[in-house]
C-alpha cells in the first residue's frame, strides 16, 4: 500500500468526520477537530510512517481534540459535566457517512459559495488555506465563509441523517450541482486545475455509493469527457482554442473511453435527466474524429430533449448553435431572435458570441457582434479571443 499520505487523508477525512458527528452531533466542533487531526497526521506521518490503522488513529486524535474542546466549553459555561468518549473500534465499521456529510454541506439553507467551501473542507479534506487559494480569495475571507456556513448548518438544526425519501432526489440534485460547480471553477480557470481533479474524485465517491443512479454516473461522465479536452483547449501562451480548432490527438483517450462507457450505461437506466443528456452531448463531440465529422443532428436532438427536461435560456442558446450547424445558420439565427427579449441571456456575452458565430457562417458581417461579446465578458482570455475574431472578421468583410 503506497497510497500517498495526502490522498489517504483526503479519502479518510469524510469517514472520520462522519463517525464523530454520528456519535456526538455538533457538526461544527467535530469538523474543527477532524481538521486538526488531519493536520497532525500530515505533519507526523511522512516523518514517522503511516500507522497501521490510519483510520483508527485519526478517529482517536480527533476525538481527543473534540473532548478537549467540549471540556473547555463546559468549563466556560460552568457546567460540571464530563464528556466521556468511548474507545474507538480499530476497524472501519463498513458504514460510509460521506453521502450524509455531502447532504449536510449542500444544505439548502446555505448559499452556493458556502456549499462549495464547506464541501471542499468537510468532505474533500482540503484546508481553508488551500480552498482560499483555489478561489483566489484571502484566507481570512474563506475562513469566515466556512465558519458562517457551519453556524448556518447548526442553526438550521439539520440532523445527521440522509434526507427523507420524498426529498432525496432534490437534495441529491443540490449535491451534484455543487460538485459540478467545483468542476467548472477548475475547468474554466487555467490556474486552478486542482479543483477539477477534486470534483472528479468526489463524484467518483458518490458514484461508488450510488452506483445505480444514472444522473450521478452521467455527471462523472460529463466531467471526464470535458476534462479530456484540457490538453487541447489552450495554447502555450494561455490563449483559448475553440472546440472546432482543437488538436483532437491531444485529447485524453482513456478519460473519453471511461466517460463514454459510463454514459452508455447511464442512458439505459431510467428517465433521462439533465446530466445524462449533457454527458451524451459531450460524448458525441468526444467521439467525432474531427470537427467536420461531428454528428450535429444527434446533438440537436439531444439539446431538444434537454430543453424539455431542463428548460433554460442557456440551453436554448446552445440549441441555436446546434441548429445552425445541423440545418444552416439562418435557422440558428431565427431561434436566437426568440431569446432577444429574455434578459436572463440577452445581455450575456455568450448570446453575442453565438450570434457572431452564426452570422459568420451565414457570410454576414459579424464584427459588431464579436465586439459586443468581447465588451461583455469578464474573462481575459475570452475577451482576447473575441477581439481577435472581430478583427479577422472585419478584415474579411472589407471590399
Amino acid at each position: 500500500l503506497s497510497e500517498p499520505v495526502e490522498d489517504l487523508l483526503r479519502r479518510l477525512a469524510p469517514q472520520v468526520l462522519g463517525v464523530l458527528v454520528r456519535r456526538h452531533g455538533r457538526f461544527d466542533a467535530c469538523e474543527d477537530a477532524v481538521q486538526e487531526a488531519l493536520l497532525a497526521a500530515a505533519l507526523q506521518w511522512p516523518r514517522e510512517g503511516v500507522p497501521e490503522n490510519a483510520y483508527g488513529w485519526l478517529i482517536t486524535v480527533a476525538s481527543r481534540r473534540l473532548t478537549d474542546e467540549l471540556r473547555a466549553e463546559s468549563a466556560r459555561v460552568r457546567r460540571e459535566e464530563t464528556v466521556y468518549l468511548q474507545d474507538v473500534e480499530p476497524d472501519a465499521p463498513g458504514h460510509d457517512d460521506t453521502l450524509t456529510l455531502l447532504f449536510l454541506c449542500c444544505h439548502p439553507a446555505l448559499s452556493g459559495p458556502s456549499q462549495v467551501a464547506l464541501t471542499l473542507r468537510a468532505v474533500g479534506g482540503l484546508t481553508t488555506a488551500e480552498i482560499a487559494q483555489a478561489f483566489l480569495v484571502p484566507e481570512a475571507t474563506m475562513a469566515q465563509r466556512i465558519s458562517r456556513a457551519k453556524a448556518t448548518v447548526k442553526k438550521s438544526d439539520a440532523g445527521f441523517a440522509a434526507p427523507a425519501r420524498e426529498e432525496f432526489d432534490e437534495r441529491l440534485r443540490a449535491v451534484l450541482q455543487v460538485l459540478y460547480l467545483i468542476f467548472n471553477e477548475g475547468y474554466t480557470s487555467l490556474r486552478r486545475a486542482d479543483l477539477t481533479a477534486e470534483a472528479i474524485r468526489l463524484t467518483r465517491v458518490v458514484h461508488r455509493l450510488l452506483p445505480n443512479d444514472g444522473e450521478v454516473a452521467a455527471l462523472l461522465a460529463l466531467m471526464l469527457l470535458t476534462d479530456a479536452r484540457r490538453p487541447a483547449r489552450t495554447r502555450p501562451d494561455g490563449s483559448l482554442v475553440p472546440l472546432d480548432e482543437q488538436d483532437r490527438s491531444l485529447w485524453d483517450r482513456e478519460a473519453i473511453c471511461e466517460g463514454a462507457a459510463l454514459v452508455e450505461r447511464a442512458l439505459a437506466s431510467g428517465p433521462l435527466g439533465p446530466y445524462r443528456l449533457q454527458a451524451a452531448i459531450a460524448a458525441v463531440h468526444a467521439e467525432a474524429a474531427s470537427a467536420e465529422d461531428t454528428d450535429w443532428r444527434e446533438i440537436l436532438a439531444l439539446y431538444e430533449l434537454l430543453e424539455r427536461v431542463a428548460a433554460n435560456p442557456m440551453v436554448t442558446l446552445n440549441r441555436a448553435v446546434a441548429l445552425g450547424m445541423a440545418r444552416g445558420p439562418q435557422a440558428g439565427l431565427e431561434l436566437l431572435a426568440t431569446l432577444e427579449a429574455d434578459d436572463r441571456v440577452s445581455g450575456h456575452h455568450r448570446f453575442y458570441a453565438v450570434q457572431a458565430h452564426l452570422l459568420e457562417l451565414a457570410g454576414e458581417p459579424a464584427r459588431e457582434a464579436f465586439l459586443e461579446a468581447a465588451r461583455r465578458t469578464t474573462s481575459a482570455p475570452e475577451r482576447r479571443y473575441l477581439e481577435e475574431r472581430a478583427a479577422s472578421s472585419s478584415r474579411r468583410s472589407r471590399p
Partner: protein, 116 residues
C-alpha cells in the same frame, strides 16, 4: 469592485454627528462583509491634491500635479468584494454613504478563466 467617488472638501465641512453617522455606517457594512466572508480588500485614497498625473504631452511623458480630471467628484477609494451576484454588490453600493454624497460605481473584475 466598488469604486467610491466623493467631493473630498464637502465631506470635511459636514457637522460632527453627520460624519459620525457616516463612519458608523461604514463600520457596520465592513463588519457585515467580513462576517459574511465577502470582503476581499479595499483602499481609501489620500486627498486628490496629493496626486501626480503621468501622461504623454507633446510627444514626451510629462508629470503634472493633481488628478487627471478636474471634477468636483473625485475617485476616493475602492472596496473589493466577492459576492454571489451583481444585485448583492449593488445593494452594498446603495448603502455605502458615498452613494448619497457622491457616487458609487460597481465594476466587474476580469479573471483568467474562460471557455470559447
Amino acid at each position: 469592485m466598488l469604486l467610491i467617488y466623493n467631493n473630498p472638501d464637502a465631506m470635511t465641512s459636514l457637522p460632527k454627528d453627520e460624519l459620525d453617522g457616516i463612519f458608523g455606517t461604514v463600520d457596520a457594512i465592513m463588519s457585515e462583509l467580513r462576517e459574511r466572508g465577502e470582503l476581499l480588500g479595499g483602499q481609501a485614497l489620500a486627498h486628490p491634491s496629493q496626486t501626480k498625473t503621468v501622461r504623454m504631452i507633446d510627444g514626451a511623458i510629462a508629470t503634472t500635479d493633481g488628478p487627471f480630471v478636474e471634477a468636483k467628484e473625485q475617485f476616493a477609494g475602492t472596496l473589493l468584494v466577492d459576492v454571489e451576484d451583481e444585485a448583492r454588490a449593488v445593494e452594498i453600493a446603495r448603502r455605502w454613504p458615498d452613494a448619497s454624497y457622491g457616487a458609487m460605481e460597481v465594476r466587474a473584475i476580469m479573471d483568467d478563466g474562460g471557455e470559447v
